[in-house]
């Protein structure tokens, strides 16, 4: 398969296990810089495991993750958020927390950070919600705020686990535009997706996880059912909306 010569994120013969059970093995491949890679696979094929491995939260059993992105430029939005929504924090404050890993936990924000925070919120269409407590947001508004935090972080590697679940269609459009812009400015994005229509709109590359292995392919191959692996993936996935594509 053709690969970019430069890649910030490469997997070398990676083997990952959860509770002493191997979930993925012999995973070799590169994620293209400035591209959006969709991660697809049935439940339990190791999508979350792979993401944890890439984020460095799960130690590989064998092989390695070669990632040249510094920690503070890596962002991860898990599907099951650990976010405490009763915590008294406004949308603006949440977005601003994205900036402290890069400028340190001890120094305060300056005017430049606040200006950037306002730009980020405007881009996501949540300026009017700046002072709204997190607990009073809808699912879509919350997702926009969280993406705002990763924008603030100037993330170069962004891992998203089903970012469009329980999100209104207008938010999906806004988020897709923002994610495309991030990729265009050089960031590496990995997105777990189930919906084929979203995959066709967003993905530049696809990684299919099945039977403990990962296979790199193209969105076209998946959508047209050309890649043999895509066929099995579609079968095992039971992907909604696949017949309309």
């Amino acid at each position: 398969m053709e690969q970019e010569p430069n890649s910030r994120l490469q997997l070398h013969n990676l083997q990952l296990a959860q509770a002493n059970r191997t979930v993925l093995e012999h995973v070799d491949g590169r994620f293209r810089d400035g591209a959006i890679t969709a991660l697809v696979g049935a439940n339990g094929t190791g999508k979350s495991t792979l993401i944890q491995g890439i984020m460095g939260m799960l130690k590989p059993v064998a092989g390695r993750v070669a990632c040249s992105v510094p920690r503070e430029r890596r962002a991860w939005l898990p599907q099951q958020l650990a976010l405490d929504l009763t915590f008294p924090m406004s949308v603006e404050e949440l977005v601003m927390t994205g900036s402290w890993p890069s400028h340190g936990a001890l120094t305060g924000y300056c005017a430049r950070h606040y200006r950037r925070g306002r730009e980020v919120m405007a881009r996501l269409g949540i300026s009017h919600l700046a002072h709204r407590p997190l607990g009073e947001l809808s699912g879509g508004q919350r997702q926009r705020a969280l993406i705002g935090r990763t924008l603030m972080q100037e993330a170069e590697l962004l891992l998203l686990d089903e970012p469009f679940a329980n999100v209104d269609s207008e938010t999906v459009d806004v988020l897709m535009t923002v994610l495309r812009d991030m990729a265009a400015s050089g960031a590496t994005l990995i997105v777990v997706l189930h919906d084929m229509e979203q995959l066709s709109r967003l993905a530049d590359e696809v990684v299919v996880l099945a039977n403990g292995h990962a296979h790199w392919t193209s969105p076209q191959a998946i959508l047209e059912g050309q890649a043999p692996i895509a066929g099995t993936a579609r079968l095992t996935l039971g992907i909604p909306g696949v017949s309309t594509c």
Binding site: M55, G56, M57, R71, E72, R74, A75, W76, P78, L81, A82, L83, D84, T86, F87, P88, M89, S90, L94, T97, W100, P101, A105, L106, P133, R149
Partner: protein, 296 residues
Amino acid sequence: MLALLYEWLIAPFDYGFMRRAAVGGLALSLAAPPMGVFLMLRGMSLIGDAMAHAILPGVALGFLLAGFSLPIMSLGGVLSGLLVAMLAGSVSQMTGHREDSAMASFFLISLAAGVMLVSLGGSSVDLTHVLFGSILAVNTTALILIAAISSVIVITLALIFRALVVECLDPLFLRGQGMHGGLVHGIFLGLVVLNLTAGFQTLGTLMAVGLMMLPATTARFWSKRLEGLIGIAIVLAMIASTGGLLLSYHLSIPSGPAIILLAGVGYMLSALFGRHHSLTARLRRRAAPLGAPEPH
């Protein structure tokens, strides 16, 4: 009228022990409420209570060995508090039981052990002092100790503040940044123990947690913002500790319960008349017409 006010509010502070107790109370009021706010926001309001019991055996042991010496008793308190916290943590890890059940078991054992130790070596007056505090005991050494501990707490809290906020809000984000949430959490629990040790002299081991939690839970009725919660809680704690001391002086009651009861009255009134979530706020909300601006 003015003379009466003077006699009630100012004259008691002619006495050195009242001045020292008041300053000690104000120092504690700066350090304890922010801890209480974080404990409350993390749904750990009762952990403070458990820790207060956990410091008792150490305080009692210090009392047995060195008499009524605050530095020795405080050191004992810190050590036993940290020991119980670690034991509870490791028991729950080894057995798979939830940490709160391990904590509950250990704090009951601690309370019983502490009371027994004090009874072995002292009178029931000593026991009352350790459990419920005594303003008479705050000498200059004690005051310096309280002020020093409070300063350490405020400074450390300022240093870990942002990490603590992020750890409360979204532990995964903190982990993703390569910061260990457990470390922040551990430092925070250590500060809670320190705080309780500083507080037991005026308030007693059982009441010290009151100055931490009650202003924090009361502030919840008045603010929806973190800064607001902390600021209001500090002011409430200052009023309660100074007012409680005066009550204790005039009515000859132990200072700990007087201070905490005063804070308790504040809590009850706020539950009835506060701006947010109180009984009257709920009634007002029901009456607000459609499209009315939200109260902030």
